[in-house]
Symmetry: C2
Subunit: 416 residues, 2 copies
Amino acid sequence: MSAEIICVGTELLLGDILNSNSQFLAQQLAKLGIPHYYQTVVGDNPERLKQVIEIAISRANILIFTGGLGPTPDDLTCETIADFFGAPLIERSEIIEDITQKFAQRGRVMSPTNRKQALIPQGAEVLPNPTGTAPGIIWQPRPDITIFTFPGVPSEMHRMWQETAVPFLQSQGWGKEIIYSRSLRFWGIGESALAEKVSSYFNLPNPTVAPYAGKGEVRLRISAKANSAAAAEELIAPVEKQLKEIAGLDCYGADNDTLASVVGELLRSQEETVSVAESCTGGGLGQMFTEIAGSSDYFWGGVISYDNSAKIRLLGVNPKDLDKFGAVSATVAEQMALGVKSRLETTWGLSITGIAGPGGGTEIKPVGLVYIGVAGPNDEVKSFEYRFGTIRERWFIRHLSACTALDLLRRRLLTM
Amino acid sequence: MSAEIICVGTELLLGDILNSNSQFLAQQLAKLGIPHYYQTVVGDNPERLKQVIEIAISRANILIFTGGLGPTPDDLTCETIADFFGAPLIERSEIIEDITQKFAQRGRVMSPTNRKQALIPQGAEVLPNPTGTAPGIIWQPRPDITIFTFPGVPSEMHRMWQETAVPFLQSQGWGKEIIYSRSLRFWGIGESALAEKVSSYFNLPNPTVAPYAGKGEVRLRISAKANSAAAAEELIAPVEKQLKEIAGLDCYGADNDTLASVVGELLRSQEETVSVAESCTGGGLGQMFTEIAGSSDYFWGGVISYDNSAKIRLLGVNPKDLDKFGAVSATVAEQMALGVKSRLETTWGLSITGIAGPGGGTEIKPVGLVYIGVAGPNDEVKSFEYRFGTIRERWFIRHLSACTALDLLRRRLLTM
């Protein structure tokens, strides 16, 4: 028994949209322990879609379709599947009522094109769509084949999956043997350097350990197969402990932890507060802090001192030093950090000033040069120089700058 | 002749990473006018990968692989392809040298595992990887089949594609008949409302017009098939003009325009400046402005007034009004906008204060309630109330808030 994910939509073939649905479904299948070896993307084309179904039923038993359930003429998924298995389409009155109601709520009348969405293969079960007009189906056209269809809109698909597909699959006995995994997250160490440190773990059978890298951070994914989450966690715990010991401070958290959430928890537990002074990141550091609900407990705000006048007026940076050392300098970074800390009366002040590029670089101060200031108790202040490189893109230099600032504070908080 | 994109990696089947490579390649193939009807994802498993190749060569002539070129044992793409076509692997000394050099630059010695990356099928051409250790290949194992392999790391893959694959494909005659397209971007109108206004355009043969929606914005994609970009643009221009006339102010730009870049150009052309005061967005609006290189010409900075103390100290918001009306109120939004505008002496001041949730909502002030202030010349100030809904997620409410603030300033600048 295994599943195949089939995403239908010419917009995927044109690269108009990112295929986040297949990632979501892949994660969900792993959680339920449903093996899944292939994902296919095909356009809104009945003939090709039929060929894809032909191949899929030869190598999988659970076919999960997303996309092509809309009211427009190019939405053909449901009728093509019905046609492939030779089942007639039946108009389901409850769907008509549901759609009519949804239009009514918005003070509108159902357009005739939406009628199409009420056509379901004979014998299929309707997968209600609470937030949209396109319903899905659960259908077993043959005893050995189960078909799910979902709309392409991720938010609608996620909810329908959770509320109807998951219970159905569990009723079929899935979710007993599960693949449970945990991702350890690292900052301040490269993938190969980390891989060499922990290489002996890459050959473990259960749990398995595998490295991934991206956006300046490295992860180690520990995956265990077991009959329950608890049993899987028991397999994972000792390996996690050992990996953390090997990595030391370079491991900042796991799974959904972010540098900002980890720093936030440290500040909360120590009843301390932080403020930021951002130049080249322009608000990105503040955004990372405030992505976390409840961050107002420790994040008090900051200053986006993009223009020098803002550095002087809102942070009290010394104009003479701006002239003498330049906006991108250790001195200015330290004055920014102290300035925002004192003005907002926080325990910590974090500052970032640098050249994100692509323009603005010089021989002495190239693109990627960034100074980060950390001001703390008793107005102690330190600055750190980074050269994130001239070939990196603007967004990446900004991302590395904000993450590194968080990481510096994290390490400082852990070594007080 | 058509292409198939094959992404190899168990991490894709586990949902650990989002498959952005297939979107990039899809866009690139469309640009070159190379038909492309299928995308396949398969794990790091030689047998299944061979089955995928078997299917792919039966329906496509250009096979583009990404992933599985790394030094670790589970990276099997290149040797599996060679094995499928029965070609021996040859160690290429130039690759060994290249990798050795790259390690040397980082003051390190090449680890023996990397030797593996120098094994290339006999007769294949090496696709150099300027920024990473994993080279790709261009190989015609059979006259009718062309194979490309790329590493899974997007930045490495993009560069290799542009520098080597594109010229090769052009030398093969591709890129003559091209699909050229333009996406008009809209803010402040829903997909169905816009679709109804322009429905007659959805039946055009060439160029075609199709709507897409996501993250609160709607797009109309105009795609033309022609022998040159110029010819395609000639087909697109009149349709674009008509669609813009129908949509009016709701159309804010096209293609890579963002609300921030469009507002930025308006400010630049009018030699005006802007500053921001952010509460619930916590720096997100500033980040949007500063994502654009050169934004320092018109974006001077701002204040992240997350805590009320920051609103009072850095923006001069009246404490009495904070008590009386609350931080999330029209009055406070207006004082924030005026406060930052006067402190940074900019032409415009934009402010956002709201409840991003999930917590913090009340009967009278539910999650999703957001006030946006726009302060302008002669200290005129207006505030706008939005109810972005209690079911939306925190990130989305924050995103809608920042985009709406940009859109309000855009409309104001266009109607002065």
